[in-house]
Symmetry: D2
Subunit: 372 residues, 4 copies
């Protein structure tokens, strides 16, 4: 249940890692939006496996097929269904341990919940499920672009013990992020991260890390108090991603060590007549609503659960067993997670934007309010 995300701009994803394919139905996309399939594909390409030696060698073109909702280059306002076929599935790799629960995977919990599971790969817990999110997020961006100058940029801040990278959230650009396979715009740290990941790969182990994300150009007024605060929806979005164990916005956990007088962000009038804050400990949200400053948040990814090393586990019959995985996998998910984090951010923002437009109608003109 609940394979749908969003209130007004909704994505429903479907598909297992091994099966006919994976995809998404985007419902609630406004009509008349110029639709670029190549932009959607470009984001899928950033997410797809096989981009470098740091990622799983599984070969998937991840070609998006648009089945509906687009007509003569524009969105119709009707559901946009996008399908990506599974090509390079090798269920045989999983056969030898089909009755074993891989440690820190979802095998045991799916069995406990459903009483059945597709043992060929990760099923719905596979990162292939995120394909639909990336496609949906790319469309969400196309919707917002016509209304405010949004720039969402995520990057790898640390990998294992390497980091934090030194990056300026006010200026960092997607091109800088993509200039190396780690997706870290700090070249020196990126090189170290590359080595850390490669080293984990060679020792059949894995590593995790932290991704940062900034959203610039968000107009003030987005986010729904009380339960759907912008940060609450972002937290849910990020914790809904495989392998995520933490989320913090603005000052986050470190901010608990400041006093109120240090932490509060004093207001001042910007040169353009807009209300601004001198600091941004709030991370762009106050009371659950965007204040026009950049959104800034960090996400913790645990090390990939699939490793080649021998591990202790149990099987479905309750026997204790030893497991030696041979499924293809990423020694570190972070480089490929960057576009996914951006996509989820787009999805949260577009939903908040439509919600605010429902409330305020023509009197909400983000064009006039958003800061560049």
């Amino acid at each position: 249940m609940l394979s749908t995300f969003g209130h007004l701009f909704r994505i429903t994803t479907f598909g297992e890692s091994h099966g006919g394919g994976v995809g998404v139905v985007v419902d609630g996309c406004p009509p008349g939006v110029p639709f670029s399939l190549s932009e959607v594909q470009a984001e899928l390409d950033r997410r797809k496996p096989g981009q470098s030696i740091l990622t799983t060698p599984r070969q998937e073109a991840d070609q998006a097929h648009v089945l509906s909702g687009v007509f003569e280059g524009k969105t119709l306002g009707t559901p946009i269904a996008i399908l990506v076929h599974n090509k390079d599935a090798r269920p045989s790799s999983y056969e030898s341990f089909k009755d074993m629960y891989r440690p820190s995977h979802a095998d045991y919990t799916y069995q406990a919940k459903y009483g059945i599971r597709n043992w060929m790969g990760g099923g719905r817990a596979s990162a292939r499920e995120t394909i639909g999110r990336v496609a949906g997020g790319a469309i969400a961006l196309q919707v917002m672009r016509g209304h405010f100058p949004l720039e969402v940029v995520a990057w790898v801040e640390s990998v294992h013990n390497v980091g934090p990278a030194v990056v300026d959230p006010l200026t960092v650009a997607k091109e800088q992020v993509d200039q190396n396979p780690v997706r870290c715009p700090d070249s020196e740290k990126a090189a170290e991260m590359f080595d850390a990941i490669d080293s984990a790969r060679r020792s059949r182990d894995s590593v995790g890390g932290v991704i940062c994300c900034v959203a610039r150009g968000v107009p003030p007024g987005l986010g729904e108090p009380v339960f759907s605060k912008l940060e609450a929806e972002l937290a849910k979005a990020m914790l809904s991603l495989p392998a995520v164990k933490g989320f913090e916005i603005g000052s986050g956990f470190q901010g608990t060590r400041l006093t109120g007088s240090e932490h509060n962000d004093p207001f001042y009038m910007g040169e353009d007549g807009r209300v601004r804050t001198q600091t941004n400990h709030s991370g762009g949200v106050q009371g659950g609503i965007s204040n026009g400053e950049p959104l800034f948040f960090r996400i913790a990814f645990k090390p990939t659960a699939t490793i080649g090393k021998v591990q202790k586990t149990v099987d479905e019959s309750g026997q204790e067993r030893e497991l030696e995985s041979r499924g293809r996998h990423d020694p570190c998910v972070l480089p490929r997670a960057v576009p996914i984090v951006e996509a989820m951010t787009h999805l949260v923002l577009v939903d908040a934007f439509l919600m605010q437009r429902a409330r305020a109608g023509a009197s909400f003109l983000p064009e006039k309010n958003a800061q560049r």
Copy 2:
């Protein structure tokens, strides 16, 4: 919009800090559950102001009035409406700065979003809104109690620079938490925290900190992949609370420094024939679903935005001004936030429980599966 939380067990809160009152409608509560108003009131009392010199001196009895949904000591299965009147509202305290945006408060963002706001106090962004959550959470616990031996315990782990407290999540009890006004079961640290908060109070400043929460006795199989993973709903629940800036579950941000072979939780067979894990870096969830181990998560609270010190800000007309707050407030929200965190945890769990029961019917018997 969206003042409702939950899919099947839903709470809808209403009320501003200054107005007729605040309250909640609990919809979807199963019928026939023995209802204890005194338990509800006990939790409200843990949350209410004026418990010690560490909390706001605002005097509110926060007496719960049940308007519907209960009959002859049991729930009817119909909406349970609970109302708490506002008594000690002093809007005059706010009059002098009614047109000023208090730094790091929601004044500016509410104005940007709604074009109007109740300047008498915090409106919906006030912590008084959480009264409905606490009442709803207390009822949620009563629902689950008949089905599995749930124990949710939250405590203050750190305040400003004091901490972390040394606490064993496997055994810590609510009574230990409540033995001091800080709600930290480590007495030594609690004393230091008390001083830190009192010191902030005396200097008209404020402090933040970290709350830990453990949920023991959760049966395996709760949580809805993909988008409503248990940790995703918990993250949303916590980030929807005022002043929260971060959430992490299990190994969290620290876990990003482990390798996969260190981080993975090996499975073994427990003495009672249940599948267990040797470590709990996962924090009780795998693939978004509970695995029967204790849920464990941490929440970062920023220092209270309301402080007595003079601050720079702007007013609605765009003038730069100086603000000297005189509203009553807590120098540290954490002691009173403990029952709120527990309540939100109850709400997330009861919803996941009902969802799983919808799916699995009589074949889901948490009584048989939950670990004590």
Copy 3:
């Protein structure tokens, strides 16, 4: 569960006929709307009991108390909670048949569903539950008024064998409807209906009938295909009312006897440059979306289930019994149902309006498109 109606403009009702009170939380109301409590009260007065000898003698002032969401005469955009106390509850009237299932009431089905029920009156199945709907609908109208010239008018078309009344849906006004206690603008038929209802009352029996409703001034473009077609939401809204057994829009059941060439509504250009139809067999909707013509629909209400005559039934222990009801009741629900039908129509329309505004933003200007 599911005591909430609407997607963006949502009402959640609570309360049993016998208990602390009944009420509503209106969530999603746009901010800054001038709020008239007297208009809300006026609609509650049209619904309240004791208006004439045709209605139940239960004495209820049905005074609305606004607990939140309104500030200085305007809506805040936050939840508006409205409470109406129950005053003249006489549970003792119900005591003698508390274990009997009243025929065609919800006693048996509530017991089957919940295993428990409030036997003091109708519980949630009582018409008192509709108080919250009427209050919510009155607010919905205040929201729409600022945007398009909506006029929703319902009236009693037939009672038992009396009717149909002759009424012009293009011109009928609320004042005409309210000029007699039956709420039928055809005075002659109204007199006959009055006699029919009074006759049923005197013989301790009851009668039903048909209510018509027209909504003029609805802009084209409201209603969400596929599943939330405007007529689908209206049908749900009406069938969610106690005692309703049928709904038809436009040509309805009679229209099945026309051919397509007779039934189709030819388009032409109106004098004001708007697209119009020469006939309105469609009842104002095509493909689930309003076309700018008046919405027109009819609703069948069965005769009141509560009657004074002796009836055969069974009790909770499975014994066959005879029941002689003494609860106060309306011999005909239709006169009091008129404002309820209008309220539900307002609620459906405001929700469709906000949804369309979310989609289309500033390019949806109902002011320019709605026909008077």
Copy 4:
């Protein structure tokens, strides 16, 4: 927006009549249900065009492709995506009137709502959209079958002026319905209906009619008061179908001519110890909840809007024009609508069943309560 139906068992449909295809994502299907694709296909075959001369000559195999959610013959509990390709689309048929609004079609209203539309066929308003509903409904039936002996049977009761057919709702079987192309189990009336439809076809006109539906074996206790009464959800489901203008349950509009003492259904104890009613004016629901008697309802379908006769209309530029349609169409939608009505009934019931299971858990055993 809102292309999703259902709360726990949810279908999301996608696709236009002319485009890559149409389909459905079924979310919330319980796991471990034996899955029969051939049953799904059999229902699609009952719905597909080209079954007889009474239906559109468009040639579509309507072959269902299952993309996900099924594994080794059972449902996984994950989303089941089903795709049907569009084969025999002939957009050129529509080209000559692409800028004209076909009377009583959704062309004008889609344009008013979206500012854009796929003029190649009916877009989302096409009956092809219902393919996803039929597939979803067939799966819903497979879910319920394991729990209660549900039999949902719909049939054509009248066509234009022919009817009503004489059919016993307590015994009528699907095989009887399918024994003629009209899908009316009264052979004599069926022959007359055939002639009426064929006559309309030959005169390039169309006809409508009434479909009856009965659901036997529904356990007591299904349906969610207040707003999601079983009859309210059924009404919404039916009015969400193309061409539907009316819905009535039980005594419906005719029942308004009875008195309460005639209309009330007296309770008695059945031979099997179950509470029964002597009559069924209620149509199987009381207070929005099933009472164990058969559900019985009727649905009015207007004559098909697409006709071959010349019609007056306007075009997008506001010119008055004459339209002579050449799209392929059904002269009467009722025969093909029968499986669609059944499917929507299944979808409403399965959702109510899961909701009740969430509420009542193991104490709700429909197996014990449902009447055959």
